[in-house]
Symmetry: C2
Subunit: 141 residues, 2 copies
C-alpha cells in the first residue's frame, strides 16, 4: 500500500499555504519553489481543491490561493477526498452483494479489509491542517 504523490503534495502544499495564509494570497509558483513540486502538477491539484471549496482563488497579478475554511476544519479526509486519493482495501464493489472474485458471497477476508479501511480513515479524520501547522509553525514572514 502506498500513498501517491498527489495526496502527499496536496497536503504539503496546503500546509505551506496555511503558513502564509493570513498575509496575502499565495501563488502556486511560490509553493512550487518552496516545496519542490512541479508547477503544472500543482495546478491540477489546486483545481480540485478549489472545486471542493478547500481553497479560494484570486486571479491576476498578486493573485494566488487562500484557504476557504479554518485550518481546524480542514481534515486530511477532506483533502484526500478532494484530490481523489482514496483508501481502497478491497476490489469488490461496496454496493454489490457479490464478492471480489465474482462469487455470490463476500470472501473470507472481506471483514478484515473493512476493518483496515476504517482504521486508516480514522487517522485521516482526526488530523486537521491545524494539527500539522503547530508542528511546523513559521514564526517569520
Amino acid at each position: 500500500m502506498k500513498l501517491t504523490s498527489k495526496g502527499r503534495y496536496a497536503v504539503m502544499a496546503l500546509v505551506d499555504l496555511a503558513r502564509f495564509n493570513n498575509i496575502n494570497p499565495v501563488s502556486l509558483r511560490d509553493i512550487s519553489l518552496r516545496q519542490g513540486i512541479s508547477l503544472d502538477y500543482l495546478e491540477q491539484i489546486f483545481s480540485k481543491l478549489k472545486k471542493n471549496e478547500i481553497v479560494k482563488s484570486i486571479r491576476g497579478t498578486q493573485g494566488g490561493y487562500v484557504l476557504n475554511k479554518n485550518p481546524n476544519d480542514i481534515k486530511l479526509t477532506n483533502i484526500f477526498h478532494a484530490v481523489d486519493e482514496k483508501v481502497k482495501t478491497v476490489q469488490c464493489k461496496k454496493e454489490s452483494k457479490r464478492g471480489c472474485n465474482g462469487k455470490a458471497t463476500k470472501c473470507i477476508t472481506h471483514n478484515l479489509w473493512d476493518e483496515l479501511e476504517i482504521h486508516i480513515n480514522t487517522f485521516f479524520e482526526n488530523k486537521s491542517l491545524n494539527d500539522l501547522l503547530n508542528n511546523n509553525k513559521e514564526t517569520r514572514v
Copy 2:
C-alpha cells in the same frame, strides 16, 4: 492508497489453508478453486511464503502446503513482508538525510507520513492468522 491483490490473495489463501491445515496438506489447486484465485499466481505467492518460512511444501501426489508456524504467530506483518506488500507513505529514502524532493532537510509533512505508516503497521502487527480464523471457522471438513 490501495491494497494490492497480491497482499489480499496471500492472506485469503493462508486463511483458507489454515482452516484445513490440521487434516492434510492443502493443494494450491484447491485453494485456487475455493477462493477463485489464479493457480499460476498462487504459485508465485506461495513461493515467497515458503522462502519466508510461513509455509512448508510437500511435493508429489497428495502433496500441498502446510503452515510452518502456529496461526497465532503468523501476523499480517509477516505475510505482507513475505510477499513484498509494504506500506510506503513517503518517497524519500529512510536512511538518507535528504528529503523527498532532494532537499537537504525533511519536508514539512514528513513526520505526518511517518505517523501514518506506524498507525497502519500497528494494525498489521496486531492481527494474527488466528484472529481471522475464529471469525470464519469451518466446522465441517
